[in-house]
């Protein structure tokens, strides 16, 4: 089988040119990768390929001789997946080496058809397996990206904002599942401690549906906040949600609920002994003085 290694290493330049030509007719992604970079990647892969065939043979892909090629392919596929190549594109990158290699093999071995067939068969198997490696690597990279984005989405969608001294608001956007409840609960409780807040307003305007499970999660959060000494008010209950809650028989009687965030805020201000007043200046200049005067 060292014939194959020789064929590859002796005709590296020609192989590369042919390879790039085939590749560009199959998948042209000049927008995603530069010519020079492609050249360099092809070069290093061909070198690793010749190396692998020489030391471990084309069958034994898990052998030590192939570790260089495997790592190289994985890293190239990962970087391509990050740039937006589809797994198919990435697999095509390796598979398009088949034709140039077959042409070469036919030229070199035309005198011995049996050996030619053997070689072509092993080349096919080898390249197929290498293509699978690239597909695996690019899918793994994508999954990693999706996981990270999910994590970011989760953190983004649970902000805790301070409305006033001792009053927090927690606008929840999206469906409240168990994992998110955990995040919501933790961030709320930590904010309660950090800001020494006695009132927390949980705004569910952005929660599309409230079923028994979501309600249970909400109640858990409220109970935990109560245990720490903070009172929770639920706001942003839409008419549909109010109907659903009653139809499902969810007991929210121990919880204060309000239709609007402003109502909940007004209640929290009132409970903490504060009131928002309209000053004369504000009445004369409606844009200038709202909230400008703190009443304490």
């Amino acid at each position: 089988m060292n014939d194959l290694a020789e064929i590859i290493s002796q005709n590296e330049d020609r192989l590369r040119t042919e390879w790039i030509r085939t590749m560009s007719s199959a998948v042209e992604r000049a927008d995603l990768i530069s010519k020079a970079e492609l050249d360099e990647q092809c070069n290093s892969i061909l070198k690793a390929l010749a190396d692998g065939v020489k030391t471990s043979g084309p069958e034994n892909l898990s052998g030590a001789g192939w570790s260089g090629a495997r790592e190289l392919l994985s890293s190239i596929s990962a970087s391509r997946a990050r740039r937006g190549f589809s797994p198919g594109d990435v697999a095509m990158f390796v598979l398009s080496l088949k034709q140039p290699l077959f042409v070469l093999v036919r030229e070199k071995m035309s005198k011995n058809p049996d050996a030619m067939f053997e070689t072509i068969w092993s080349v096919t198997q080898l390249l197929d397996r290498l293509a699978l490696i690239t597909t695996d690597a690019s899918i793994a990279t994508r999954e990693e990206m999706i996981m990270r984005q999910q994590q970011e989405l989760m953190e983004l969608s649970t902000p805790v904002v301070k409305l006033w001294d001792g009053i927090l608001a927690l606008p929840i956007i999206g469906t409240l599942d168990s994992a998110r409840t955990q995040v919501v609960m933790e961030s709320l409780l930590q904010a309660v401690v950090a800001t020494n807040s006695r009132y927390a307003i949980i705004d569910i305007t952005g929660v599309p549906t409230v079923d028994t499970l979501v309600a249970q999660h909400l109640l858990k959060t409220i109970t935990a906040a109560r245990l720490m000494g903070a009172e929770c008010i639920i706001s942003g209950v839409r008419p549909q949600i109010a109907q659903t809650i009653v139809h499902l028989g969810i007991n929210l009687e121990d919880v204060i609920t309000k239709a609007k965030l402003s109502d909940a805020f007004a209640l929290a201000l009132q409970r903490s002994g504060r009131a928002v007043v309209r000053t004369a200046a504000a009445a004369a200049n409606p844009l200038g003085g709202f909230f400008s005067k703190r009443e304490e």
Partner: protein, 128 residues
């Protein structure tokens, strides 16, 4: 013998739990609290658990018990300074400490109890 101190602050009792609770200690504490309430005529009990990092259902039950006993003796219990992790654990254990009042800090707890004492005496006065 190891014992959790019960401090007197005017008409209130202050209990700061800083060690791991076990059966004997909890029973001793229940004894002490009930004794002190009846001796000193306290109207409120503050239990500070801000230094508790870990709770189990035993501690949750103990808190509920002390609150219940105090209520029978005419004193209101406020649990103060619960850590977020502790609150989450208690909720996951299904213990919402329904009969127990809570506050963020000892100060807030005192405000709560004194506020109650004041309105309570006012009520008595109007009733009288």
């Amino acid at each position: 013998m190891e014992r959790i101190p019960v401090l007197r602050m005017g008409s209130l009792l202050l209990i700061t739990i800083q060690v791991d609770m076990h059966d004997k200690l909890a029973l001793q504490l229940q004894d002490d609290v009930t004794e002190r309430i009846s001796d000193w005529g306290s109207t409120g009990v503050l239990i500070d658990i801000s230094s508790l990092e870990i709770v189990d259902s035993f501690i949750g039950r103990m808190l509920a018990n002390i609150a219940g006993m105090s209520r029978v003796l005419g004193a209101e219990t406020v649990v103060v300074g619960m850590q977020p992790a502790v609150a989450i654990t208690l909720v996951e254990l299904g213990m919402s400490l329904a009969g127990v009042r809570t506050a963020l800090s000892v100060e807030a707890g005192m405000e709560l109890l004194y506020g109650n004492a004041i309105t309570g005496s006012e009520n008595e006065r109007t009733e009288a």
